[in-house]
Subunit: 216 residues, 2 copies
DNA sequence: GTGTCAAGTTTACACTGTCAAGTTTACATC
DNA sequence: GATGTAAACTTGACAGTGTAAACTTGACAC
């Protein structure tokens, strides 16, 4: 099926990847509104209708780009988690840092991922795309789930907190105060100072209890 | 300036309000993608260019609708806060419920509010529009801010948590499990069971510490 | 009446997604 | 090699979109 490593005459050879790459570039340059089938086509050097043919419409293109975004998103979390000490608490703190780093470094792609509103046909595929990223969260939260409790509760808490924080930081009122940190009970200190503009993640976790969460 | 209570010949009389109302109806019926200048115009019975003339482009229309959305959003929080016991803890719990109720009852409007990406010209106006809603949060969080601490830290925590939770519930993976509750340390139990589909907000806060947050 | 100005209209244009039809290429089969 | 077929595009057309400029209508001050 993949007998076209390079463009051979009429066939492009690697159009799908080229279109996704073009789409990510468009997102990076001009935000969500800058992404269109025709611009992707022009950038990939194909006719204006080629992307729609490939991805079955603009929603398909956006989903394909979002799938690539989820893969990079997941990788950002894993990159942070695999660095430094490997205690469960360190790993949980660091996937949150990786989460926020991705949101900060790829705002438009992050926007696309979490602004995706698909019809029922694509929503299942979208869930498949995002599942590996959620799995990182699940694996990392697992050590903190008390016996007999539903893991999804603490997962939801961590996910909600970091997701809301990322959105508020990247677009909302907090964007004016990027150095703002979050501190509350110990389960929240994992998010402290994650968006240091200089890229040096200050450690502001001093004085916290050693457990993540006094789950009752 | 408002000498046109009804439509008098050429002038519409109350075009601005009619367009905003039409826009909200379009959002409610078909989501974000269903909102356009021309559809608003048709629904308000004016020419297709009238909305752009009024609001100086589609971004202006969207901002005007978002301003109305923020007002309703704020009112939803206040309605919940002013009901029931009036301890600081009750009020904080209830503005979160009001927050989530609004997100659930007005998903497209909530989407519009928090997906708004404005150029630098409109972003200041947008901040003015959202300020009263944020003020509700600030006032409600104030009793929980320890002396000498920056109030914005606990505000950010609560806002992030409820914002992320609302988004995940309304659009994301959690949408499949609307009855999911969040429980963790006491500061988080305010969000427990906020999205009961039957509309009866179950109280699942039993066994929590009486203080909101062991802020250290 | 006259001037002025805001409020809408009209017209036109570029851009967008989508669809139908046609063209080119690859490949299997004879 | 010739042929059929399916996939991978291209081409052309169309409706819907935002936007800008020019025009018209109405209200009001003088």
């Amino acid at each position: 099926m993949s007998q076209h490593p390079d463009k051979t005459g009429h066939h492009h050879g690697n159009l799908r990847a080229a279109l996704i790459e073009a789409g990510i570039a468009l997102l990076t340059e001009g935000g969500l509104d800058n992404l269109s089938l025709r611009k992707c086509a022009a950038r990939a050097g194909v006719s204006h209708a080629a992307p729609a043919h490939h991805f079955d419409g603009v929603d398909g293109l956006r989903m394909a780009i979002a799938a690539e975004g989820f893969a990079r998103f997941r990788q950002s979390m894993l990159d942070f988690a695999d660095t430094g000490p490997q205690t469960p608490r360190d790993r949980l703190r660091n996937i949150c840092r990786g989460y926020l780093a991705f949101a900060r470094n790829n705002p438009a792609l992050y926007d696309l991922i979490f602004s995706f509103r698909a019809n029922s046909k694509l929503i299942d595929q979208m869930r498949l795309n995002s599942a590996p990223a959620y799995q990182v969260l699940r694996d990392t939260c697992a050590p903190f789930v008390p016996a007999g409790k539903d893991p999804v509760e603490i997962e939801t808490q961590v996910w909600s907190l970091v997701h809301g924080y990322a959105l508020l930081n990247c677009q909302g009122d907090l964007a004016a105060h990027p150095r703002r940190t979050m501190r509350c009970c110990p389960c929240l200190t994992i998010l402290a100072a994650p968006l240091d503009p200089a890229g040096k993640l200050r450690d502001a976790f001093g004085g916290c209890a050693p457990h993540i969460c006094t789950y009752q």
